[in-house]
Symmetry: C2
Amino acid sequence: MFTATRTDDDTAGYGTTAEHLSRLVRDVPGFLGEDAAHTPGGLSISVAYFRDLAGIEHWRRHPEHVDAKSRGREQWYERYVIHIARVEHSHAFTRP
Amino acid sequence: MFTATRTDDDTAGYGTTAEHLSRLVRDVPGFLGEDAAHTPGGLSISVAYFRDLAGIEHWRRHPEHVDAKSRGREQWYERYVIHIARVEHSHAFTRP
């Protein structure tokens, strides 16, 4: 789970990189899906779901992801928090 | 973690109820904080953090929360997913 506040730096390829990573992560073994929401001018929350910690570790060390995180700290993010969490229970509702 | 897509029903007190619940949850024993992001016309992700499962259970059974969830299924939400997850590791970055 990745909770972030962006800088004002919109000129530095953030969108292109974000889309590229979003495609790359799909090839990580054990990747199950992701959810993302972004309040304009405010917080972004992205959640990537993996079958196991090995998948998370694979993604954490992926070279292009490592590069992007480094650029993120230099240019794109004012602040972020990452939580690694184990899903213990899930419940879904869909309108009939 | 609460991931939701709203209906078009904006006339039914959603905002007022959401703000009210947001104040109520702060009094739940073990409540640690919350994050929320909403893509206009798209997904909302809200994450409430609790010290332990007892806090989550307390909030799950809170009468006004139970009422709101029922109204949510009737009027406000097209679809939602709740994940109860145990945070195993966290990492934060703040721009110097």
